[in-house]
């Protein structure tokens, strides 16, 4: 009786090991199952999800105009102090002063890509871009100015 159990044990063990080897053997003989993506080589064909949060950008239209009113909602919403808005007062043609942004400072090195600033923006002036290759040699380069030089607020955005 003991011998029968002993042999049964050995055979069962051998069977379980062979089924395991069958699985790895299958993958060894089926190279099409390989799922590796060769990243720097496939840059041209790389498809990123459109909602992927890579960095905050401020889209400008062809007239170099953006939609940022300088309301600082994003600055308040940001949990890390990533955004700093410096405002100035434009003198309108009719002599009135109007608040506008001077510099939209964005600290990429502090950003955690949570997307709360984009959610908070009332005029959809900023959005999350797909870029993700942010490495630079100098940390200063990570502090960015999002509004382009000479840009103005788009007409009709309040």
């Amino acid at each position: 009786m003991f011998l029968k159990e002993y042999i049964n044990d050995v055979l069962k063990a051998a069977k379980s090991l062979l089924t395991g080897m069958k699985v790895t053997g299958y993958y060894f003989t089926h190279r099409k199952e390989i799922i590796t993506e060769q990243y720097p080589d496939n840059r041209a064909t790389l498809q990123l999800a459109e909602r992927f949060r890579g960095e905050v950008v401020m889209p400008h239209d062809e007239n170099n105009q953006h939609a940022c009113t300088g309301c600082s909602a994003c600055e308040i919403a940001c949990p890390n102090g990533t955004i700093k808005i410096i405002n100035k007062f434009d003198i309108q043609p009719d002599g009135k002063k109007k608040k506008a942004i001077d510099t939209f400072v964005y600290h990429l090195e502090l950003c955690t890509m949570c997307g709360l600033c984009v959610e908070a923006c009332p005029t959809s002036a900023i959005k999350m871009a797909n870029t993700f290759e942010h490495s630079v040699f100098n940390r200063n380069q990570l502090t960015k100015r999002l509004n382009q030089p000479g840009s103005k607020i788009r007409e009709g955005v309040e």
Binding site: K12, G20, T24, I35, R51, C78, T112, M113, C114
Partner: protein, 371 residues
């Protein structure tokens, strides 16, 4: 032999396992006392990745603090966010739209599968088999891609906001989730053939790291660790939140109490998660994905507590509000911390190899323990 266990005498070997060690999956530091190969005592030392998340949350508003909690148990980021969002909603008394509730539950279950997949691979790697890790990552990667498409990130999603979810679902979401379910069910056999049925694996797991039902309760174990010992502790059943009371699923209970029972609980839980997703994915109601909330959230003065079932066990969020825009105090009851406390108890008298295996079945995420 028994009386020797647990005492340090001269001639014992004291080894520091960690904070940099391949088996601790992070910066856990275990001081183990050995008698030859036999473990006499295990003493976990914590704090290597303590980032004072609870203190940080006190200076963040109710919208902001949710994103920090993704960094606690980073493998179930959605579920952490979900717990915080639910707790804030409790304070605000906001009714979350049906659509958002459905989306949240589907996301939670996808996260649970992804987390268990990673655990499954890492578990096998702890035991010395490297191949399952990569096979598990194939399925996990599919989930990550689905997450990326809808939430915009792969690991720390920050998708749940007070009152609902941040965006609506991606148009391809349902199609992709169904494709994933198909992919998963076609590979599930392979998992069993490669790992579960393997004789070496079974011998390493069975009868090791035994936790009785009483011990599991008295040490405060939750999640798969408690369910492996037969303690019904699934918050989704005990105190259903969102639409968990509308779906049909079984709470996986194993009575073995050993490493293998905990392993089986997690593997079967993945299938239950698939079952939940299958029930919900075709029935997501139309409507808003976010309730209307004020721009600045203020919780009324009081104390709020919400618990959810993460992939590791019960996560509790406890907010004390003084009526301001930021919480006065936040406390997280993390599952990993309580589950780790039983490690010493369950590996005494076993071999070093068993320590690694038993620790693998606890499914520890160190940032979740230290916070």
């Amino acid at each position: 032999m028994i009386e020797e266990v647990g005492t340090t005498t001269e001639g014992d070997l004291v080894i520091n396992v960690g904070p940099q060690h391949p088996a601790t999956h992070g910066v856990l530091h275990l001081v183990i006392t050995l008698n030859g190969e036999t473990i006499k005592k295990v003493e976990p030392h914590l704090g290597y990745i303590h980032r004072s998340i609870e203190k940080m949350c006190e200076s963040l508003t109710y919208r902001q603090f949710i994103y920090v909690t993704s960094r606690m148990d980073y493998l179930s980021a959605h579920i952490n966010n979900h717990a915080c969002a639910l707790c804030v909603e409790k304070g605000l008394q906001v009714e979350v739209p049906q659509r958002a509730q459905y989306i949240r539950v589907i996301m939670d279950e996808l996260t649970r599968i992804a987390s268990h997949e990673l655990w499954w691979g890492a578990m096998a790697m702890d035991l010395g088999a490297f191949t399952p890790f990569f096979h598990a990552f194939r399925e996990r990667e599919t989930i990550n891609t689905i997450m990326e498409e809808t939430c915009g990130a792969r690991l720390t999603m920050n998708y749940m906001v007070p009152g609902g979810v941040m965006f609506d679902l991606h148009p391809d979401f349902q199609k992709k989730v169904k494709a994933f379910i198909q992919q998963y069910t076609s590979k599930i056999n392979e998992y069993d053939e490669l790992v579960t049925g393997n004789i070496i694996f079974q011998n390493r797991m069975k009868g090791i790291g035994y936790v009785t039902k009483e011990d599991a309760i008295s040490y405060g174990c939750t999640g798969p660790v408690a369910r492996g010992s037969g303690v019904a502790s699934d918050i989704r059943k005990i105190a259903p939140y969102d639409v968990y009371d509308k779906v049909e699923f079984d709470e996986v209970l194993e009575t073995g109490g050993d490493s293998f029972a905990r392993y089986l609980v997690r593997v079967k839980e993945m299938q239950q998660s698939i079952r939940i997703i299958e029930q919900l994915i075709d029935n997501i109601p139309e409507g808003d994905f976010q309730a209307k909330t004020k721009a600045v959230l203020k919780l009324p003065k009081g104390e709020f507590y919400q618990r959810v079932e993460t992939a590791r066990g019960e996560l509790g969020v406890y907010i004390i509000s003084e009526g301001g825009t930021t919480p006065y105090r936040i406390k997280f009851r993390s599952p990993g911390f309580s589950n780790l406390s039983i490690l010493d108890h369950m590996v005494r008298g076993h071999k070093i190899g068993d320590l690694v295996a038993a620790m693998g079945t606890l499914d520890l995420v160190i940032p979740d323990i230290d916070r």
